[in-house]
Structure formats: C-alpha cells, structure tokens
Symmetry: C2
Subunit: 323 residues, 2 copies
C-alpha cells in the first residue's frame, strides 16, 4: 500500500505520448494494491477515455505473466464483466516500460472497496464471481496456481523456526493442516481460470452493485469452487477472524449458486477448500510478517486472523456451513 517507484509528471506526460489519451491534467500516486506502484492519471482531449490507473509492476508480479492477465481482462470485459481493461497504445501495445518497470495503463473504474460489506453486497459479490467463472469458460489462457498446495509446503519451510514470533500455536496448526490437506485435497473438481484473491478490497461497489472486480494478479487455473472458498474466507468474518457472519455467508453462497450451480463434488469439497483457502492466507501472511521489519510503514497483516478462520472451518460443529 505505497508508491515504490517515483515517476515524475514529465515522465508520465512523455509516456502518454504513445497513447490516444490526450493531455495529462492530473497525476497522483495512490496507496492501492499490494506491492505494485499505482498512479491515478487524468487526461483531457483524448479519444480513449480520460481517467486511468497506471500500474508499475514491482517484485511480486512476474512480468512473464502480464500477457495472461491482460488477455484475461480483455476477455472478461468483452463478455460484460465489470473489470478494467488495459489500454493499448497507438501501436496496439498494452504492456510497456516506465521507470525501469513493466507498466500498464488501465481503465479507471468508479466504486469503493468496503471494509464491512452487508449481506446484499456479499450477494452481489457472489453473483459477480459466478459471472466471472461463466465468462472464462471459453478463455484459452491458463496459468498454474503459484500459491497452491505445493507452495504452501514451501512457505511453511521458509517460516521454519520463526513461528514463535507470531504465535506459539501456529507451527502445530500449520503442520497438522498441511498433513490433513495433503491427504484430503480434492483433485477432480471443475477447473477454470479463477480470481484467487477476491477480498472486499478487490471488489468496487456502488451501493449494493458491483462496479468493478480488480487486482487479478493472483489469477490462475484452479478449481472454481476453491475460488468461492477463498472469497468465503475473505468476506464472511470480521477483520481479525474471531467472528463468523452467517448472514454474509448465506448471501455470498446464494449469489454464487443462483448463477452457477455447484456439482455434488464441489458442494462436498467446500469445507476442505475453505480450510485450504484459510491456510493459504495464513501462510502468505506469516511469510510476510517474518520478512517485514516491524517498523516499516507497510502495515503487516496478522496471520492469526486467517489461522482463526482455519480453526473455524476445521471445527466439526461447523460441518453444515456450506449446506
């Protein structure tokens, strides 16, 4: 949530010379997204819209993945999904270079990211996720999930010996859960490209309507129902993971299932997939926690907020959660 790379207004104006976007009239670094530098760009007099997000890709996004992400956004937008398109320059190029980084000029979408969504908003998010899954049915691109089960083992290894600085119980929770998921992870569910990070942060809303799905930089090919499970873990608890909200859960699931029916195997797998989703964010947060200086300006996200969700999903008392 910071601007990592300095871009002067003069550099930006020169960058825009290659586009049909008109004259630069405003340019602000914004605190948005994770580990990319983002700028809100406004122009006038162009034929290609007048407001944009410029993203410079920092270390976490592999430049080789950018063509996949941009093709996905184009495909989704063509099918009526509310996602921002990357703007092409006059030569048709979407992925460019600026300030030593790969850079894309992306449509600006109105809407606000909610911290405490309502059931009506969770329902709309579930619907939007199902629409996304339907819209990618004929999308040719694919990308392996770099944050799947084998990556969890890798992350756990890289945290070895340092769990204590987060929570004394965490090492045991993670080790037991990896064993459990390794043994029970479903292998034969319907797959497609999924968003894989649909937190409320990444859903722009106007009132109770979704106005944009953003931040596709974890999107990959994996089980569709796993995407629903990730979204469930992200939307249906309070920030520190202590309180589950049954109303949000019912609304999110209804929004999705009304639009896209789950197979019996998907339905049966949801409790396991949700445990995997909660473990995935527990582990990535734990890794970031251990590797972020405590006095850095970036706020560290608490891994225990997802470890608590994991405990909740693993609790037999909640076996009917997804029914």
């Amino acid at each position: 949530m910071a601007v990592y790379t300095h871009v002067s207004a003069e550099m930006m104006a020169r960058f825009l010379d290659a586009y049909d976007t008109g004259e630069l009239i405003s340019f602000k670094g914004i605190a948005e997204g994770v580990e990319n530098s983002n700028f809100l760009v406004e122009t006038r007099g162009g034929s290609d819209g007048h407001r944009f997000i410029l993203t410079l890709y920092e270390k976490r996004v592999d430049p080789a993945d950018l063509p996949f992400f941009m093709a996905l956004l184009d495909h989704l937008a063509d099918r009526g999904c509310r996602v921002p398109r990357a703007i092409a320059d006059r030569q048709g190029v979407q992925i460019k270079d600026l300030a030593g980084r790969r850079a894309c000029l992306i449509e600006f979408l109105e809407g606000i990211s909610l911290s405490t969504p309502s059931p009506a908003q969770a329902l709309a998010a579930g619907t939007a996720l199902a629409q996304l899954h339907k819209a990618v049915a004929d999308f040719a691109g694919s990308r392996p999930n770099s944050m799947g089960l084998s990556a969890w083992y890798d992350l756990a290894e890289r945290c070895a010996g340092q769990w204590q600085q987060i929570d004394p119980a965490l090492e045991r929770i993670v080790t037991n859960e990896l064993d459990f998921l390794q043994a029970h992870w479903p292998g034969d569910l319907p797959q497609s490209v999924i968003h894989a990070d649909l937190f409320p942060d990444n859903v722009l809303m106007l009132g109770d309507e979704v106005s944009g799905l953003i931040d596709f930089y974890f999107s990959c090919t994996d089980a569709r129902a796993y995407d629903l499970a990730i979204t469930h873990s992200a939307w249906c608890f309070d920030g520190d993971g202590r309180n589950f909200d049954a109303g949000l859960s019912a609304a999110l699931l209804k929004g999705y299932r009304d639009r896209l029916q789950l197979t019996a195997a998907e339905q049966a797998a949801l409790p396991i997939l949700a445990r995997g989703a909660a473990l995935r964010f527990t582990l990535s947060r734990a890794y970031d926690w251990i590797n972020t200086p405590s006095d850095a300006l970036v706020t560290r996200k608490d891994p225990m907020a997802f470890a608590r969700r994991l405990m909740f999903y693993a609790d037999r008392a909640n076996a009917d959660l997804f029914a």
Copy 2:
C-alpha cells in the same frame, strides 16, 4: 508522502453525510503532501462539486492553526487566486474530525506538479506568487513564522553532535551562516502573509499556466521578499543543488517583479534572504534526516542539496544574481 491514518470507505461515506456533496463513488489514499494523510474523494449527485481532497492533519500541523489556513484559502480564492477552498458542511463548518484527526474536505484542482519546470513555467510561478502577495494585502489574519531565524538556532541545537552522519562540512557551514544571518538579517522589509514553501511540488500547472497553489501549511506572516527568495531557492537549481539555472532565475524574478515591484530595500536584501531560505531548508532537512530511520519507506531529502544552494548564494561571484 504516505497515508498515515486508515480511513475506510464506510467512514468516509458517513463523514460526507454532513455535506452537500452527494454519494461517495470513489475514494483513494494518495501519496501527496508532507506528513498529512490525503485521500482523493469523488462523489456524484451533490451540489458542492464532485471531486475533493480529504486531508487528515498528522503531527506536523498544529490544529490551532487550521482556522488561519482555511480563512487564508477563502480570502485568496475570493480574490481570484487559484487555490483550493475548504468545503463547509451544511452547518458551515470547514474543520472537522475523522479517525481521531482534524480533517478538512478541500476542493480538488486539476494540474500537475513539475519536477523540471521550464522558464515559461517559472515565470508563471513568479506571477502567481506576486498575485498572492497582492491578494493578501487586505487579509486580516496573521501567524508567526515558526520556521524563522530563532527556529533555525533551535533546529541547529537539536542536530548538535550528529552533523557528521550527513556531511563533515555541514556543522561549520551552519554555524558560520547562523552568525552571518544573525548579524545581517533585514528587519524592516514589507511584510504580509506569505506561502513560505512554494516548491514546484506545491504549484499545479496545466501547460505553462498555474492551475493551483497548494499546501499552505507553512504560510505565515513574514517579509514578502523572503517568500520570493524561498521560491527562488526551490525553483532555480537542479534537485541536488549542484547546478543553478540562470534562465529559470531570470524568468521567476521577471514574473514576480512585473506584477509587484520590489522596494529598493527588498531588492538589496534578496541575496541575504536567499541565504536564509537555503539555510532554513538545510536545517529542516538535516533535522528530518537525523530523525528518520534510513530504512523507512519515506524518502529522506538530502540536506546537502540546500547546503549547496547556500554556498552558491554566499559566493561573492554571484553577487549580481538578483540584479
């Protein structure tokens, strides 16, 4: 250049309920200004415009000074200066509270801040500064300069024993200059409210026109010619202070003097005032340098970039600089 205080979209929407600004449709933290938290706010359906900057005042701005700053902006805007007004809520209140901070909703102005302005742009900045000085002639408010000569002694004392970590020559430069300025600082120049921080960062431009003067949080009552000297030190050198640009200097001075004639005493004082301006930023940067961890995400500004300007202004070979 960061967002220090978290404000959720829901908090912002509730905050806006008190205003005639309509419904919140976009809300982004922006990396702008020094040591305040700023957000770009967009609304629709209101009668009071649709784009705003929300500023939360962090530690460096004294809340007791806010009424002065807001009255100044109103006064300047009423007289046709391009400055952002603070928006009043339906009760007429401009200075509010949000997230435990004093907060103001301020007009958004188009324009970009240049890193390497041209002479035509420096001329426009000089003109805008003179217009500001003319417009405050009948402004009743006043505020002591908290960054004047006595504050420089205080800053120097607080850096005592730590100059070495910046540059071995700096302690001697500062000590000698304080002696010199104490002996020669002019006491009888025309005073008014001045901006006191008119760096290119704080001047929004559209092409060669000034579209906004912003960031008045150092504005105070002091010699008008000192404001011109500050602006000169900020505009007429490259970033590290090694290269003076005579073209920018001539243009800035012409822009100002064509609009507002300097008295003989002001003209004669400019070389001293410029040394004071360069020392003021050397000292504030030195203090920040010493008190900012080197691994903080905030970029530390190099005090030597202004110590070099100071040496330039103090060099007898440049005695005719302001002629």
